[in-house]
Symmetry: C2
Subunit: 456 residues, 2 copies
């Protein structure tokens, strides 16, 4: 039966140029992770459902991909649950495993499981696929790669400073200038909520604050008003939203306003410590951002988010923060955590839009050797081997089709060089080397080819 070939929605085929681009970015991230002493680990694509379920809130549970039990096990389907419309229980009766939803929960499980094999602080990086049954849109897929670096164990401000430096190093290596690393601290937000006499409404407060860019100061006030914030909150909040100056100047101003709120003061003091490590490094585009409130259900301290250059319309391309005791879910208590993550797909979109991918990426074949008959080709093989051993990427055309067709192939695969070996070349003991850019031909000893190509 002939089928029209297609793939599930939200998934992608990567053609060679796509793979080259994504590898270019992930190799840079990987190299930097390693320089900062993060070690690679890998966890299974499939985790037990009990490991993942309930760890990502209701939305996460809903968007998780479940794996059907194999073979006869499916006979245990709980039809009563199905008929009672208890789809969760029905699912559990036919599925015990789910696909990884992120890399953080599997990492926590990993640390708890292997705690006796690890040295703490344990710095790990993990570049692997995750799956979410999300509605696909630009830069959002059901299957995508996360690039995470986390440390668990003893943590000091030097590590948080290193997160900032690591973001910066990766963007430098990608020649991506103009990113902004936004920073906030959960304790500062908690202190402000207390300052507004609404310590229990930190979530309402941060949700409104997060919209400042879109709806302006009055919009934020309106939203807070609806949530029951008193009018005198706004006279307190106003000046906070108008902080200006350098990072340190903003912290100074904030400190004066929040002097009665120990939470906030502790958060401010901590950010100062972090900055003390960063300043000498001259990281560019570091911004204190009071409206940054991502991941408040798990971040307990510093929060990071990286915005791409302003010329690109795109959400954050990196994020991270400090969390505590995540491994307690799996029975390992008292572990602190700190992690950052790069958005690989979005980074690729940004680099593409700004034309920052190196041109050489799509050039994957150096030489095509044309085929003038099996005898000629066979004579070439030891040379082809030596060229490959020297690192050249060489394709031998498989059959003696018309020259035009073979040259057309070399053009299609973007090979900069073509080698001929036919009667004339054999007599002379040379090969013909054709430069596909200029069209120039020259005779050359096959032993001299590598040096010739490396000299251009």
């Amino acid at each position: 039966m002939v089928q029209k070939p297609s793939i599930p929605k939200g998934t992608r085929d990567f053609l060679p140029a796509d793979v080259a681009r994504q590898s270019y970015v992930s190799e840079i991230i990987k190299a930097q992770f390693e320089r900062y002493g993060f070690l690679p680990i890998q966890t299974p694509s499939m985790e037990k459902t009990s490991t993942l379920q309930g760890k990502y809130g209701e939305e996460g549970d809903r968007l998780m991909f479940h794996i059907l039990n194999s073979g006869e096990k499916i006979k245990k389907a709980d039809l009563d649950a199905f008929e009672d419309n208890k789809l969760g229980r029905f699912t559990q009766s036919i599925s015990e495993k789910a696909l990884r939803y992120d890399l953080t929960v599997p990492f926590a499980r990993f640390v708890a499981q292997h705690q006796n094999e690890l040295a703490f602080p344990f710095k790990r990086y993990q570049i692997q696929t995750v799956w979410r049954a999300d509605r696909p849109q630009r830069g959002r897929f059901q299957e995508f790669t996360q690039c995470d670096a986390d440390v668990v164990g003893p943590i000091g401000p030097v590590f948080e400073a290193e997160c900032i430096q690591l973001f910066d190093d990766v963007f430098n290596d990608l020649s991506l200038t103009g990113c902004t690393i936004r920073i906030n601290h959960r304790e500062i937000l908690a202190g402000i909520a207390a300052y507004l006499d609404a310590p229990d409404q930190i979530v309402d407060f941060t949700i409104a604050l997060d919209k400042l860019d879109k709806i302006g100061v009055e919009g934020v006030f309106d939203e807070l008003r609806q949530k029951g914030f008193e009018e005198d909150s706004f006279s307190k909040l106003g000046p906070l939203l108008e902080l200006s100056g350098t990072f340190l100047e903003q912290l100074d101003a904030l400190e004066q306003m929040l002097t009665a709120h120990p939470d906030a003061l502790a958060g401010i003091a901590h950010l100062r410590k972090v900055l003390a490590f960063v300043s000498p490094l001259q990281v560019s585009h570091l911004a204190f951002d009071l409206t940054l409130a991502r991941g408040l259900n798990y971040y307990t301290g510093v929060i990071f988010e990286v915005a791409p250059p302003k010329s690109v319309v795109m959400g954050s391309i990196g994020a991270g923060g400090r969390y505590d005791n995540l491994t307690a879910l799996f029975g390992l208590n008292g572990m602190n955590g700190l992690g950052i993550s790069f958005g690989l797909d979005r980074l690729c979109l940004v680099l593409d839009e700004l034309r920052l991918f190196p041109k050489r990426l799509t050039q994957a074949i150096d030489v095509v050797v044309l085929h003038f008959g099996d005898d000629y080709m066979s004579e070439m093989m030891p040379y082809v081997s030596s060229w490959r051993a020297a690192g050249l990427r060489v394709v031998c055309y498989p059959t003696d089709q018309k020259l035009k067709k073979q040259l057309n192939y070399a053009n299609q695969v973007d090979a900069p060089w073509v080698v001929f070996f036919g009667e004339e070349e054999k007599e002379k003991g040379v090969v013909s080397l054709k430069n596909m850019m200029t069209g120039e031909d020259q005779f050359i000893k096959p032993e001299a080819l590598v040096v010739r190509l490396q000299s251009t």
Copy 2:
């Protein structure tokens, strides 16, 4: 709720040393694939069930992991099918996607789908995870990585010779000597079946032949007798099983015996052509093996299988062959195919057993910088950055815990060097560099550290 952390059976966590080993092997394979002009592609982990189903025989369908439809879609469960014990139809009613079972069928789907974006011969490599609900055993997992290189389009014997050379190059790069590349040709097997007057029993014949190593010549005869082979077959078959001499000598002898069987002659002639490309390259351990009959349901020509060195008890570590028209399943006709595959997990087991992994693999951190207080550490940061920029992998200890504890950590992570920067060093404008192997300390200018470490 505290959970005892564990992972599904047949899956694995990879600790840093495991990742390092597997990456070492896959990077070598990847580099060789690229030198032979194979281009990387990636396909989704999840394919439509209709793409995979029925492509791997009954066993494949049974061992495929199905993904449960998300959300409300599960309400379409076909309970009638369930109650009629039609589990296949029941599965179809709640699942539309399955996890990749191999890389070959997705590749065929990919080629048919993207045929207008590709240049033929299209040489692609793909190093990705596949999943099979197989019973786990040594070297066999439910989730594992395949390393495949295939070409579709025009194919000539030079490509088949390159497969052999590629196997050899990878094993050389791994310092793995003593592997045997076994070769056969489907047409030769077909010719022999005809020679035995049993042209339709090629499958019975090859299944019996495949057991020659285990059950001996008489055992093979017994099995064939039960399948209805005539006694006079055995007098014909005997000499075939006793071929000896070089590859070419065996082909000569075979040619004389099978002179009336054009299939066999064509297969022999083809192998000669392939060998003509290989011989000058001096590939070692190439063996003609009449009993090699893997994948006969899809291989149409040359068949390869690689056995590890005899000192290791392990199945094949590589395989491949020539197949035709695989893309026809997806509506693209007339495409020839040729591919090889490396068994990454088994290769790792073999290298481990033979102690062929380089020692440096597990050494992932070059320097640990000890922490004598945030002020000292902060002063070190610009130097730490410069060391990292030079490629060193550096961990800064996060807090000023007791020196012994910090040194213990450096030992645990196997760091060959430790850097101190405290009061004395600050006064002198140096750092202390400790060699963790010898215990030796020395003062050194921080600017001189990279050169010092590179000189050892």
